[in-house]
Amino acid sequence: MPQAIAKPTTWSAFMLTLKRDLLIAFKRKNDIVNPFMFFVIVISLFPLAISPDGDKLAEIAAGVIWIAVLLSAMLSMDSLFRADFEDGSLEMLLLSPHPLFFLVLAKNIAHWLVSGLPVVIASPLLAYMLKLPSESYVTLMLTLLVGTPTLSLIGSIAVALTVGLGSRGLILAVITLPFSVPVLIFGTLAVQASASGLPTGGYLTLLLAILAASLSLAPLTSAAALRISVS
């Protein structure tokens, strides 16, 4: 039925973009596996560089995991729009009659599912290796569960602004890393609070507030940024 394909609803366009991105991600595993391996390797380097002493490691564990998350998120963000920009399908997205920010949101969600979620799932294992007190595991996972999508959403603005540039690894870092300061602060504070038996609800609520704000504003901004850089 050609008519049915020619006039998809916005919701089906959203789902199609999501499916397409997930499919591409599974066909091109390097883009997912390498940032994840980077995350694991960076964390395993810290005990070698600092000390194998469990007490010292436990003290820095939350910070190390969060910094590694930030860096690997930044590396994986690089592939968010690049392939689509190179093969021209990004222009198709821009030309589509559906609201661009909605499709950008779909791309963000797909990207988070393949790059953010593995990090969240693997975090207790790495936390154990860094001797984080076991009562903090749940808080660490919760903060990462709320924090990683926020990082993806904020990062996508910078990626969209620099999508046309040839070598942009470093400029992406310079723009996005300062932006992720609030997430880093509340994420590590929550984990540290839970390690000393303090309530963590306040930090999680703040992280959720930042997520809510970026979920509603970042796709709009990224869409505007894409229209600027692809024109």
Partner: protein, 248 residues
């Protein structure tokens, strides 16, 4: 009113008007900054605790206060660029980013010099103002590097405008989160710039004069660099070529 608004967007009009104003602005800047500097560095009485090092605070406070104006300025200019596509706003925004980075750097440097004597350390993570100023510096450098990476000037203008607006919001968020991080780590930080307020009124008058002077300096450098930018971007237009041939 709209005629005036449209005129403001014309680089030629701005160039001609600023040519008339420039000598007055230069005189005012030199007089105010000169008076404030001489007063602050030679005549201000030494603080009973900090000694003569309190004099650098006159410069520090003025530059720090002024450096906070850059992100709002760039966000407003960015909005004008995105909404009305006014060329002049982008020329101002372009130079404001680099100038703002310099102001933040001078704030950090003068603060460190003062801190090295008064606090006994060049850098202190437990003061939230230091940390948020550092990140404002990084964010401004981000805008500068985005501008230099995007060569095409129309695209760079819009991209930097968007980044300035997002950055302006972010500076505020960072400021509050760093403050919270700080108060939770080190409650009631004993070191604070407010401790200098025990100084007499001379100190604050000199500082107020210096703030005025630094704002004058800011407008002067923005106007001068915008004039350069106008000549660069409009070099193919008739009025710039006429101007250049008469000046030769």
């Amino acid at each position: 009113m709209w005629v005036w608004f449209a005129k403001l967007g014309s680089p030629k009009w701005f160039y001609e008007l600023s040519t008339k104003w420039l000598p007055w602005l230069v005189v005012a800047t030199v007089v105010v900054i000169g008076t404030a500097t001489v007063w602050a560095l030679l005549f201000l009485p030494p603080d009973y605790q900090q000694g003569y090092t309190s004099r650098i605070l006159v410069v520090h406070v003025a530059v720090a206060g002024t450096s906070l104006a850059f992100f709002p300025l760039m966000a407003v200019a960015g909005t004008i660029t995105l909404v009305w596509k006014m060329k002049l706003a982008d020329m101002v925004a372009k130079n404001a980013a680099a100038l703002g980075a310099w102001f933040s750097f001078i704030t950090l440097a003068t603060g460190s010099i003062w801190g090295s004597v008064s606090w006994g350390t060049w850098w202190e993570w437990s003061d939230s103002r230091l940390v948020s100023m550092l990140f404002q510096f990084f964010l401004l450098l981000g805008v500068v590097s985005l501008r230099s990476a995007l060569e095409e000037s129309d695209k760079a203008a819009k991209a930097c405008a968007l980044l300035s607006i997002v950055g302006c919001i972010n500076v505020v968020v960072i400021k509050y989160s760093v403050e919270w991080w700080n108060t939770l780590h080190q409650p009631a930080s004993p070191v604070s710039i407010e401790s200098g307020s025990a100084n007499g009124p001379e100190f604050w008058i000199a500082t107020a004069l210096m703030i005025l002077g630094v704002y004058l300096f800011l407008s002067l450098s923005l106007i001068l660099s915008t004039r350069n930018e106008i000549l660069m971007r409009e070099r193919r237009s008739l009025w710039v070529q006429e101007l250049m041939s008469t000046e030769k």
